[in-house]
């Protein structure tokens, strides 16, 4: 069991549902990111994805695409990213996952990436465009550094494929509730329940469900179904449109749904 899984299982004993949030590092600014994380801390967020911006973010929808571009234009790079991760891990209780694209990891080098992530307080990584059969060496280095490589399961995966993905998964499994990119709404219907059930059959790891969740009410529908809800785009659009105050309100609404 990786440190991340141990941590999640402990948190699950006292919460109905865990909460994973997301921030694009450097957008709109590192100061704004810090204010976002303070709000997340007050909402007792369990895990945060810190996205390392990439020039070709193909799994992301328009809101994150723009955020990636602007963060890069403002000079985001590896050094600033990991410095920021260090600040976050020193200041807050939540676990940190690096989220990004494989080319950043490849250019950094698998071993350097894992060492750097562990050194700056990361617990694992979500590399959106890396299939598990291409990740052997990276996953070995992750194990050496007690990091959790997060696997993604989607509704298009067959049962044998889900089992293959599960074989490589550590820490938690990220269930992508639908096809397509980040940031669109997902109807929480029977098909979703069937999908989660299939993921449960494939793995005993905690299941995080993401893509399209927006409110505390959405999270309550996951009670008894998934172990963790993941929210990204709605948080960023709330920050952009409603500022820190609305952001705080949304997070408190989400927090309430993790308890009852």
């Amino acid at each position: 069991m990786t440190p991340l899984e141990t941590y999640l299982r402990q948190r699950l004993q006292r919460k109905k549902l865990l909460l994973m949030t997301h921030a694009v590092v450097g957008y709109p600014s590192l100061d704004a990111n810090m204010a976002m994380l303070e709000a997340m801390q007050r909402a007792e967020v369990d895990v945060v994805e810190l996205q390392l911006p990439f020039s070709e973010p193909i799994a992301d929808g328009p809101v994150f695409v723009r955020a990636n571009q602007q963060a890069l234009q403002a000079g985001m790079n590896w050094e600033r990213y990991f410095q920021f991760m260090q600040r976050v891990s020193s200041a807050f209780d939540m676990k940190i996952l690096m989220m990004g694209y494989y080319n950043s990891v490849l250019q950094m080098g698998h071993e350097t990436f894992c060492a750097c992530l562990a050194e700056h307080g990361g617990s694992g990584f979500i590399v959106a465009d890396l299939p598990p059969e291409e990740a052997g060496e990276l996953f070995q280095h992750a194990a050496t550094h007690h990091l959790s490589p997060i696997a993604l399961m989607t509704p298009t995966n067959s049962m044998p494929r889900l089992q293959e993905i599960a074989r490589h998964a550590r820490g938690l499994v990220y269930c992508v509730a639908r096809k397509g990119v980040t940031g669109k709404q997902t109807p929480l219907d029977d098909r979703l329940e069937a999908f989660i059930a299939r993921c449960r059959r494939a793995t005993s790891l905690p299941l995080a469900l993401g893509f399209g969740l927006r409110t505390g009410a959405d999270l309550r529908r996951l009670h008894g179904l998934a172990d963790m809800g993941v929210l990204g785009t709605i948080l960023l659009t709330t920050w952009e449109q409603g500022g820190a105050a609305q952001y705080e309100l949304l997070l408190q609404d989400l927090r309430a749904a993790t308890i009852a």
Binding site: E56, I58, A59, R66, N77, N103, S104, D129, K179, V181
Partner: protein, 300 residues
């Protein structure tokens, strides 16, 4: 069944401070002539507004519509099986060219030239000759404003593309030390691209193909020459292949045969070509043409 095409063009707002480039892009995206060739043109505003951004947009659409979408991009890039699939589709060009060459010239060509952006036309024509080791295969990339300016898309010719993974595939990309893709430039939108088909990158690595680059300036000069001497208007992309072929032809003996792949027709993009040639008479002609229509409108 409808077809959608992702154009690498931007539509920007109607603000008074619209830059010259922005205005041109906006106009190009609205060119109704293109709609004769497509059923729908989706305008992409992301990133550097070049081919790579159109590919990102197509891949994002596909991630949602994969149940009914099977042919995502016209180029030999992206995740498996697209490079292989598109190479197969395009290989008809190479097979027919080889057959016709044997009929017309009774010999195989010494050299085959094709421009390389993503690399679909090159992959297609080269496919006909891969098993003929005596035929040299030459790809021509966009040299843009010249290699020294940094504004080009010469990934293989200049050996500056480094192995990377983006847009669902591994190849040589123009990228910085941290793996962020670098801006590219070419007079030809179809060659203005960060990566190159992975199969072509492999053929280059094992020495089966040679890759050169042609600058924007060379392309425009050669285009004029080909229009005047041959009476054909190659697309700006294809004109890159003509540049290197014409540059190297004098090295060959008179009985050797070369094959140039004219992958695209320039008459379809006559506004782009005429603009690239910078011919003042074209502008005057268009003004007169519009004035004629205005007069007709006033009379009726």
């Amino acid at each position: 069944m409808s077809t959608r095409q992702w154009g690498a063009w931007a539509v920007l707002s109607d603000r008074a401070d619209l830059s010259e480039t922005a205005w041109r892009q906006r106009l190009r995206a609205r060119n109704p002539w293109l709609l004769w060739f497509l059923s729908e043109l989706v305008v992409v505003e992301d990133g550097t507004q070049t081919l790579k951004d159109a590919i990102n947009a197509a891949l994002r659409d596909w991630s949602e519509s994969m149940d009914t979408t099977h042919y995502v991009m016209g180029t030999v890039c992206g995740p498996h099986p697209f490079p292989q699939m598109v190479t197969y589709f395009q290989s008809i060009i190479g097979r027919e060219a080889r057959e016709q060459m044997l009929q017309a010239a009774h010999t195989l060509p010494t050299r085959v030239y094709a421009c390389v952006g993503g690399g679909s036309n090159a992959s297609g024509i080269f496919a006909g000759f891969l098993d003929d080791p005596q035929v040299e295969l030459i790809g021509v990339e966009a040299g843009g404003l010249g290699f020294d300016t940094g504004q080009h898309a010469a990934r293989l010719a200049q050996h500056v593309g480094r192995p990377g993974v983006a847009q669902g595939y591994k190849t040589c990309f123009l990228q910085n030390a941290e793996g962020q893709m670098q801006p590219t430039h070419s007079v030809a939108a179809g060659l203005d691209y960060i990566g190159v088909g992975p199969i072509l990158a492999y053929l280059h690595q094992i020495g089966r193909i040679r890759v050169e680059a042609a600058t924007d300036a060379e392309v425009l000069e050669t285009l004029k020459l080909v229009i005047r001497r041959e009476g054909i208007i190659p697309a700006l992309e294809s004109a890159h292949a003509f540049v290197t072929a014409l540059k190297e032809a004098p090295q060959l003996s008179p009985d050797e045969v070369i094959l140039i792949n004219q992958s695209g027709r320039g008459d379809k993009d006559i506004f782009t070509i005429a603009e690239a040639l910078g011919d003042a008479r074209w502008r005057a002609f268009l003004r007169d043409k519009v004035a004629t229509w205005d007069r007709e409108g006033a009379r009726s």
